[in-house]
């Protein structure tokens, strides 16, 4: 027969959990080793823990709960006052489900709101991109039309190209005038022309036996590129030269400003 270890307070502590099947690991092995021998105290207590709980209660000393614990219980239950009868479960369950649904709906609505805002911002961004693309497309079409007009003149039999050289204020500037003598049309291109200055414009002239004749005014972009289409060139065969001057905005009937291109 295996000798049992003496019953101690340690065994008192472990016994309830052992009797209720809630011990495992080293503590279970410790109790099993203790009970392998004979322990009258454990043998007396185990049936109590496993049996009728009221009998068990009669075998342990009562312990008064602290006033704090009593206070908490009374506060949780409304301070001892009466409450409305509890909701029946068949009412409480749908109420809980409705509450959960309301919380879920709120969360979902907030998420949907964020998604709508994100999509709205995305739509705005796409709209701005479309506008920019439309502008680029318009510019490209206008450029293509201008190139087509120049090519139409250049491809005309007998077309003339007059090169204009930069003068004093714009020595790097160059110009090209393409003339279609058959139809009396011309296209002028200027390169590397600086801005004419505030309130000023560039004006193109052709010069024949009677003197300078205005072909129109033009502006230049940030790269110094300027262009002018001349729909009616009078007596192209008599033109002796082409020139560009800086004139007051809107142009003048006869040149008054400094000449920047001539050819």
């Amino acid at each position: 027969m295996t000798m049992s270890t003496d019953h101690s307070t340690r065994h008192d502590e472990l016994l309830p959990a052992y009797a209720l099947g809630a011990l495992d690991g080293p503590e279970l092995r410790e109790m099993e080793a203790h009970l392998a021998g004979s322990c009258p105290e454990c043998e007396r207590q185990i049936p109590l823990w496993q049996g009728d709980v009221e009998e068990l209660a009669a075998s342990v000393p009562a312990v008064a709960p602290s006033p704090e614990t009593r206070g908490r219980i009374l506060r949780l239950t409304g301070g001892g006052a009466s409450r409305r009868p509890p909701l029946r479960r068949w009412l409480a369950l749908p109420a809980a489900a409705l509450l959960a649904l309301a919380v879920w709906s709120g969360v979902r609505q907030a998420r949907l709101g964020e998604e709508v805002e994100r999509l709205r911002a995305e739509r705005g961004r796409m709209a701005r991109q479309m506008e920019a693309l439309d502008r680029d497309l318009g510019l490209a079409r206008a450029e293509a039309q201008r190139m087509a007009a120049t090519l139409a003149i250049l491809s005309t039999p007998g077309a003339q190209t007059i090169r204009l050289a930069g003068l004093g204020p714009a020595p790097r500037a160059v110009g090209e005038t393409f003339v279609d003598p058959r139809h009396g049309r011309a296209v002028f291109w200027a390169f590397h022309l600086p801005s004419p200055g505030s309130g000023k414009t560039y004006q193109l002239w052709w010069i024949d036996g009677s003197g300078p004749v205005s072909a129109g005014t033009f502006d230049v972009d940030a790269q110094g590129l300027g262009r002018l289409e001349v729909d009616r060139v009078e007596r192209p065969g008599e033109i002796q030269a082409w020139a560009v001057t800086i004139e007051p905005a809107g142009g003048v009937p006869q040149p008054t400003g400094e000449m920047v291109l001539k050819g």
Partner: protein, 89 residues
């Protein structure tokens, strides 16, 4: 229990004063620590307050029912203590 189930707070206070020393005595013996035993005692009486309509007077006395709730909760606590990996609280 019928008065507690009807929502009478005074009835719960009376039940607490009558049964809690015995219930706490059992809980202290079960879990070994007074603070933990008092925590369980609160849980038990909250359960009594919310589930008094489940009490069956033909099956057991009010004290027997409350002690059974207490033993069940203490057992849960002991199990979670010995196997902390599955503790939810």
């Amino acid at each position: 229990m019928r008065r507690i189930a009807a929502g009478e707070g005074k009835a719960l206070a009376d039940a607490f004063d009558l049964h809690s020393p015995v219930v706490l005595g059992v809980l202290v013996r079960l879990v070994g620590r007074l603070p933990e035993a008092e925590e369980i005692l609160q849980e038990v009486f909250l359960q009594v307050w919310t589930q008094a309509d489940r009490y069956d007077p033909e099956r057991e006395t009010p004290r027997g029912w409350i002690l059974r709730l207490a033993r069940s909760r203490a057992l849960d606590r002991l199990r979670s203590r010995s196997n902390p990996a599955v503790r939810w609280g």
